[in-house]
């Protein structure tokens, strides 16, 4: 019987532990009590909008920033007194920070300067590292003559040659164009599997985090809002803000009719009365008094006139707007009876794959929406 990646990670020991980490810049409270355990061999992402403290957290792990209180442990050792140059972490910087006056090989070998090993041995290590990132034979090139993607690879080789316990990546793909970025995402995953080192990635790009990570911590204003695997994060966001930040989610106002330990009976604008089990109810919405129900655009289906479907529920709607993307079409729909709850008419966005033979519907068409209560999340 083979172990899955999840099994291995679940059994792995903690590599980074943050215990109530607080960071102040003057009066500004940048990190507000971060508690977090990152496991050995994990690909972990810190995701959030700019200014949420994700880079600050990464830099406290690297040792570039002192923490105001709390503790950071790496591989079980407290790091307060350990400066960045003595920590078992290495960093790939957002700008890559390739030393422009050195060659590629000199850049990669930079961290080996204090290493007692011989010259030939070091040269072999450099060649190995360059081969690992797909830059075999580039050693003699001038660093400033490289393209963005190549710089990124040199930065990776330079950090990995020291065999750190943790590799820290600060928005490493943000400077690349879309094609290159998608290619590097896949390569980074492969590289991480190959070397088995713990990767901690900082990104503001939710798609990037979903694609690459084993687990993701979503941060807002110096706090972790949710820490989960990609699927759980996408399907069951803990609050409206996380839901909004990750992917697209439709929100409809709702009213709780009755509630017990098993679940709740709610009336949703445009969708009618629904029974929701407890696992579909999120209570982390303290700042948001209004009860709302959310669902993802791809979880509901447009049904042509008379067309059969297997969903338990259907709702009448009118097409307000059509946005055609080639592989997908987005429809903005006005739901029948959506004004009944509080007087405001609601539109929702539905995405449909443009499968062969499926026609794109026109604006103004009367249509039906097929859906299942299982795709709804209640925020209260």
């Amino acid at each position: 019987m083979t172990e899955t990646r999840h099994d291995v990670l679940d059994a792995a020991r903690p590599m980074i532990e943050c215990q109530d980490v607080q960071k102040y810049y003057g009066d500004y409270h940048a990190l507000r009590g971060i508690n977090l355990t990152i496991r050995e061999g994990e690909f972990f992402s810190l995701l959030g909008p700019s200014g949420c403290g994700k880079t600050t957290l990464l830099r406290t792990i690297a040792g570039f920033e002192d923490i105001s209180s709390g503790a950071v442990l790496i591989d079980g050792n407290r790091m307060e007194e350990v400066p960045a140059n003595k920590r078992p972490t290495n960093m790939v910087f957002q700008s890559y920070a390739i030393f422009p006056h050195l060659t590629v090989a000199q850049n990669v070998a930079f961290g080996l300067r204090r290493d007692p090993r011989g010259k030939d041995e070091k040269a072999r290590l450099v060649d190995e590292a360059l081969a690992m990132v797909g830059l075999k034979g580039y050693g003699a090139r001038a660093a400033h003559a490289l393209s963005g993607g190549q710089r990124q690879r040199v930065a990776l080789a330079r950090a990995l040659i020291l065999k750190p316990k943790v590799l820290l990546l600060d928005e490493p793909l943000s400077a690349l164009d879309r094609k290159m970025r998608e290619q590097m995402q896949v390569e980074l995953i492969k590289l991480q599997r190959q070397v088995g080192i713990t990767f901690v990635l900082v990104t503001h790009d939710q798609e990037e985090a979903l694609v690459m990570s084993d687990r993701i911590a979503v941060m807002f204003e110096g706090e972790i809002a949710q820490l989960d695997g990609p699927e759980a994060l996408y399907a069951r966001p803990v609050n409206r803000r996380v839901a909004d930040f990750i992917g697209v989610m439709n929100f409809l106002p709702a009213r709780i009719l009755s509630e017990n330990g098993e679940g709740a009976k709610v009336e949703i604008a445009g969708l009618g009365e629904v029974d929701l089990p407890a696992r579909q109810i999120s209570r982390a919405n303290a700042d948001d008094e209004v009860v709302i129900v959310g669902f993802r655009p791809e979880t509901m289906t447009l049904i042509g006139p008379g067309q059969p479907h297997t969903q338990p529920r259907e709702t009448g709607a009118t097409i307000d707007e059509v946005v055609y993307y080639g592989d997908m079409t987005y429809y903005d729909l006005r739901l029948d009876g959506s004004a009944r709850l509080d007087g405001g008419a609601r539109t929702v966005r539905i995405s449909m794959r443009n499968l062969f033979g499926r026609d794109v519907q026109d604006v103004g068409t009367r249509t039906r929406l097929a859906w299942s209560p299982g795709s709804l999340v209640l925020f209260r």
């Binding site: 102040y24 810049y25 003057g26 002192d66 105001s68």
Partner: protein
């Protein structure tokens, strides 16, 4: 960290800043404060009497000779600034807009080279050029255009202005050039596209955008020229002293340090006031742009 008042970064920055700051404190601030103090003290014969007085300033403002020299200094440096900036603007414009990009640095190099030669010798050579039997006069008489050498170009304000306009040319050209270079060329096309004539585009788009450079140039030329000592001495033949010469005479030749100090402080005040006016104008221009 928050407790110690200054965080690690601020302490490191201040530590690094300490040597140059202390140096400037000792070599600049202490002397400036000294003359500020002196300017309020009484002059005794060959010594300074420690007694507060405003006489020095009264004298600076009341004495007709001092006032005349002050006004002349202001007038000369204003004229120099006007001439220098007016002569420099077309050059900056030419290099920025007409010269091909790869040749721009060569032009700048050409403009700055004369600046790197001895200031004194440059000033003296203008005397040679403008002199009674200097280059211009001997050429013109040689060609039979004039019979008598021209005298209006030597030992007067004109010659001082011309000499200083030459000496400070690069200081005026470079800031204007920099501000012209920053102008987005598509703005000019937009101006033309919106139906403005070439001249109107220049007047309504280019000139306002170049204004910060012009104001910087004005200040950079004005400040050193008002304190210039060499040119009035050499070109003016000592007959048309400016404020620097006056300060020097009071401080050293007449050994009246309080009065000399009051003159120096007044000169600094004039420079400060003029600078503030221009900085204010600059801010107005920047505000209009936003």
């Amino acid at each position: 960290m928050a407790k110690s008042g200054l965080d690690a970064e601020a302490r490191q920055g201040l530590t690094l800043m300490a040597p140059p700051f202390l140096y400037a404190l000792v070599i600049l601030a202490a002397p400036l404060l000294t003359i500020l103090t002196y300017s309020f003290l009484k002059d005794g014969y060959l010594e300074v009497i420690r007694e507060f007085t405003l006489d020095n300033y009264l004298q600076v403002w009341a004495d007709p000779i001092v006032r005349k020299i002050m006004l002349r200094s202001l007038f000369v440096s204003a004229l120099v600034t006007l001439v220098t900036v007016a002569l420099a603007f077309p050059i900056a414009y030419y290099v920025s807009f007409m010269v091909r990009p790869e040749r721009k640095s060569m032009w700048l190099f050409l403009i700055t080279i004369p600046f790197w030669t001895s200031y004194l010798i440059r000033v003296f050579l203008w005397k040679v050029i403008l002199g009674y039997n200097g280059v211009i006069n001997s050429t013109l008489t040689g060609l039979g255009i004039i019979d008598e050498p021209l005298t209006f170009i030597l030992y007067n304000v004109n010659s001082i202005v011309l000499t200083l306009a030459h000496a400070y040319a690069p200081f005026a050209i470079l800031p204007i050039f920099v501000s012209l270079e920053k102008i987005d060329r598509s703005l000019l096309e937009a101006g033309r596209d919106l139906g403005e004539s070439r001249a109107m585009t220049f007047w309504r788009v280019t000139l306002p955008l170049a204004m910060p450079g012009v104001i910087a140039a004005t200040l950079i030329v004005f400040i050193p020229t008002i304190g210039d000592y060499v040119t009035p001495e050499l070109i003016g033949g000592g007959k048309i002293p400016m404020i620097a010469n006056l300060i020097q005479v009071q401080m050293l030749a007449l050994d009246n340090r309080p009065l000399g100090s009051a003159l120096a402080v007044t000169a600094m005040l004039i420079v400060a006031v003029v600078s503030l006016i221009f900085l204010f104008l600059n801010r107005r221009f920047l505000k209009v742009r936003q």
